[in-house]
Symmetry: C3
Subunit: 468 residues, 3 copies
């Protein structure tokens, strides 16, 4: 018995399936390059055991718990922490059982495929998880987690990870990264500069955050020039902890290119908390252009993750805070939005800007034409809801004909679910090989080239785009 | 000779085709649950014969006549009634001939598949309809319609319909439903509460309609409180005639959650006819939230059909009125639009809101993420132009990975073309089985689960979502 | 060895592949009808040799050079002319080498397929172009271009072109068309009336252009009535040079139907250069309706190419001017935009308006419902970025179920790359046959009908829609 079909995601027509399998076999054992994600660096710094199956697979994974919530399970019954002081389930076995009983909700979702891949290939389980097998699963996984081979560093190595990027806020002291380095462990875990809290005037505590940025860097962040210098200092500090990229999560892809005097005046309003919503948006847009300019100097790759309408449910946000599965994508324009930044720096050699979207309609209409023209632009892989077989298929079909493969940036797993990393890269490699096999089978790509492209998509493009 | 391929809509690859056929064989004879549609209850109340082939297949079906119009046939030459007093074709044979001569326009459309299914499986015809066979078809169908087995109730039973929902306005006296009940006929035909005419300030005669609502219910609909009570009374009356749902056809999905004082003031303006377009829209949005609140009390499922720009051609509207094939979809936002209602009631247990769209771009970007989080939300099946093989395929591929199967609401035929009901459910069952077979063949769904899901999609989910 | 797979673009499943090949074999040798494109009529008037491989395949083709630019090659290093007086590469061999070295960027793009088709079927080359074969390619093509069989008229004939439409501005004297006619050559090359420069108040030199229009026609273009008469005169002049259509490239699909007094007042502002951006847009929209009215009189087919945000990079526009690969599509509404024109003339018999889009989201949501209702509307084929296997597949899958085949207008190659014309029509014929084979294989179209439809899509619909 097996939880995972060895030919999963390959085309069914026999000649295509054979081609896809051959392509996949040539890339499946390549090291994992994970240039963007949300693993906790503390895991690798301290290398403690993961506490239990529920806290590994359910409590931190908004893909999992929001699906249970959508069918009436309460967040509190899944142990999801509250911000309003109320109680939540504390028994991990009870949480696990609720999850196991509802596995049918995940049928044909990528979550199910990632989970089954982890269950089988990390923990050696081969029977489907269900109410009937819930206790067996719990005991089995819990026992494994106690073994040295299931500590974070050991898993990192057995997963074949060549490099893993975490994401930290601009004010983070990067202590875990330092502790890792000082420990002499040779696993490569790098940070990423994510300055949303000191860039977004609408972020909780923006003014205090900016003041704190000044304290940390010794720059006068009460002035626009000092504020920019403080960013430069933090970027250098992050680079010193391995960073090769910055990352920016904005509701829109808006950019701006104000005069420095206008920008300084806007910054004063932002610090004073007197920005209108429009001005706050303008300031965020200006900062993308400023970050791109800094990238010209320090070489960090600029990532723009645009389009999530965060915390859609006021009730869930009040009770449980951010990142609880209620972030909903919306329409996102890139053509007008990116023009100011692109007019400023878009034709510069050596600059890399990676665009992500939650609006699939822009793949062919906006992103591929932009990336197929501007030398600075690359397309990030399908993100979040679209990091899946169908999502990857739509992405390739909509973008390749216009911008080819070499204006894309390889795969990102973008996850905080550590055990899902091999599963996610495996899905991406299989999905890309399925697509390449179809191209070869329909006379759109030569076979020898397909093997080259398979390796590029699985490994090389991510290294190149992120300078890893 | 046959008009319909027994393996139609199944994948062509032999192993997938076998799987799809096996899945389809397991569901093809399940009873039809038709929870939303526009059949005329009078048919079943009076049980008279249908007048002739043209009035059965052409004159009332805007899918059919608008396609002929698009190639230069005049609505008047098809017997479509005029509102401006002009003449129209009265000879049903002449109408039928014009239709038959133009069958090539329907090649590869769902209309053709529905028509051929009806011709073959209801009327026993096996030669294609064309100019050459037009008279034979007319005579054959006309003769059949005279037989008792082709009366509405007999067809209802031979179609295997377990339950059929019709749709009536809030002011309807539901006499036909009562007559059906009183007749002792055991066919289950239920009504649905569709209050657009008393909810939309821009509806023709809104103020009179609201006054009439007061007369019918004995409530003082000159006040906001009385108006809401009148809705409660009508909902109870509709429930007493079988209704398990309300339905709302709005140009957008906008909702609002005003204070009761604000809502009352807006209602006064609406009654006085002094709403701006923006205020009328706000009032409609407020009423969706009010309807959702009433659903918390009376358990009716709330359906939102959003996004049709009705009566696009001023000329056709002036000559022929509503529902003449000139309703064109437009872009429709759901994320911001639904937030007020969802903040008010979206996390409530026991509430079911079914969302429909004519904007396929929102399937993966907005609707699946919303339905995959909020317990109150379910996704209705592809609607109108998208109730087809390709439409269903796109819907499943775009939504399943994010919200699974169990946040969807099964199939709706949504038709006023009675003879097409079995054909439409058949297309949906085939299309879903084709999709499920592909999932199994690519290792994304276990075979035993696929049979369970096929039954759920074909039958159970509709019953559950509508409480039928 | 071969550069092109004889079964390219056909489905892989053997029974579908056989069907697709049979359909394709029935249409592959039909004459080419090219009703819209940008070939230079001078080629056919003078019939001089094409200068060299770089100027045939690289320098004029923005599909090719923008892909190289997207990976860091400079426009100047590809010989693309500058408007700012700076230098550009003048050695065609150097340009060719840069192109050849970067062929991997085009993997799986339609450009690669068009190029390989031209290399193999026009020039007889069978090894892939690469750095290693660059010189051989250059020498081979250059030698061929010196042969009489590779002169423009000879290629026109060997390509099997029945009719080719070029596109000229309203002020063009059409001398090349006249020279062709006077030469006695029997190749049919017709012009198309493209009046953007005298219709768009924001076009460079609009007022002067309008004055010049008056001089050419002898009409008083200082008045609205004279301006319209001047258009009528030019349309007649273009018709006399073979034109059967006008063409309009607008950023949006906006139309208007002002009173003639309002239009005249707006025209005065346009001539005076005092239009706001909104008024300029309104004027363009009014002119689409005026053009449609003139079409009622003179029978020209009206083409609307809407949705390109032209000259996105300010830097590239300043250095190199228009049409340099930096035209990016954006969201485009058709439903509200077209209503004024359609209310004015949309139900008229004998009028043909062909709609093009760069926003694929409107295929199923807006364009197919509109074309499936209004007798004047037809859908143009996938345009620009979407003139490809996947683009055609998405177009057919999204439109056919709603508007069928007979509300579409056949294929346009829309190219200025002469040698790619057979390749582009071949891709369209193969892609359509692949789609038709799938319809037959899944019981959605009868086999005999598929052969009829294949011929219509490849040949007849274009002739009919353009009156050719």
């Amino acid at each position: 018995m097996s939880l995972t079909d060895p030919d999963r995601l390959f085309p069914v027509e026999p000649s295509l399936r054979d081609r896809a399998r051959a392509l996949y076999d040539s890339v499946k054992d390549l090291p994992i390059v994970s240039p963007h994600g949300h693993c906790d660096p503390r895991w690798f710094a301290e290398n403690e055991r993961f506490p239990n199956p529920a806290e590994l697979f359910v409590v931190p994974d908004h893909y999992v718990f929001r699906m249970l919530v959508s069918q009436g399970v309460k967040l509190t019954d899944l142990g999801v922490p509250r911000e309003d002081g109320g109680e939540t389930e504390t028994d991990p076995r009870a949480i696990w059982r609720r999850f196991a009983e509802n596995m049918k909700l995940f049928r044909a979702t990528p979550s199910e495929m990632w989970l089954n891949h982890s269950f089988e290939h990390v923990f050696g389980l081969t029977e489907p998880l269900s109410a009937a097998t819930a206790e067996m699963y719990y005991d089995h996984i819990d026992a494994k987690l106690a073994e040295p081979a299931f500590r974070p560093r050991a898993l990192f190595e057995s997963f074949g990870i060549e490099v893993l990027a975490t994401t930290e806020g601009a004010l983070d002291d990067l202590r875990w990264h330092r502790q890792m380095r000082d420990s002499g462990w040779t696993g490569r875990v790098v940070t990423t500069y994510r300055p949303d809290a000191v860039v977004d005037p609408e972020f909780e505590g923006f003014a205090e955050n900016v003041a704190r940025l000044g304290e940390i860097t010794g720059e006068d962040t009460a002035t626009w020039a000092g504020y920019l210098d403080a960013h430069r200092a933090r970027r250098a500090f992050f680079k010193d902890h391995g960073a090769t990229a910055s990352d920016h999560g904005h509701a829109s892809a808006r950019t701006a290119n104000l005069s420095q005097a206008e920008a300084a005046a806007l910054f004063d309003k932002a610090r004073a908390g007197t920005c209108s919503a429009e001005e706050a948006d303008l300031f965020r847009g200006q900062m993308l252009t400023e970050m791109a300019r800094m990238s010209l100097d320090d070489g960090l790759t600029l990532q723009i993750h645009a389009g999530s309408r965060r915390n859609h449910s006021a009730q869930v946000f009040a009770a449980h805070g951010r990142d609880k599965g209620f972030d909903i994508p919306g329409r996102t324009d890139y053509v007008a939005a990116l023009k100011p930044m692109l007019d400023a720096v878009g034709m510069e050699p050596g600059l890399t800007i990676i665009l992500f979207t939650l609006d699939e309609t822009v793949y062919g209409r906006e992103l591929a034409p932009l990336a197929g023209a501007y030398p600075s632009l690359k397309l990030g892989p399908p993100w979040w809801f679209f990091d899946s077989y169908e999502g990857i298929k739509r992405f390739r079909e909509a973008t390749t004909e216009t911008c080819g493969f070499y204006n894309t940036a390889g795969f990102n797993d973008d996850t905080r679910a550590f055990c899902s990393i091999p599963a996610r890269h495996d899905v991406a490699r299989r999905s890309d090989c399925a697509y390449l096999a179809t191209l070869v089978g329909t006379g759109r790509l030569r076979e020898a080239e397909a093997f080259e492209v398979a390796r590029d998509l699985s490994y090389q493009l991510a290294k190149d785009a992120y300078g890893l």
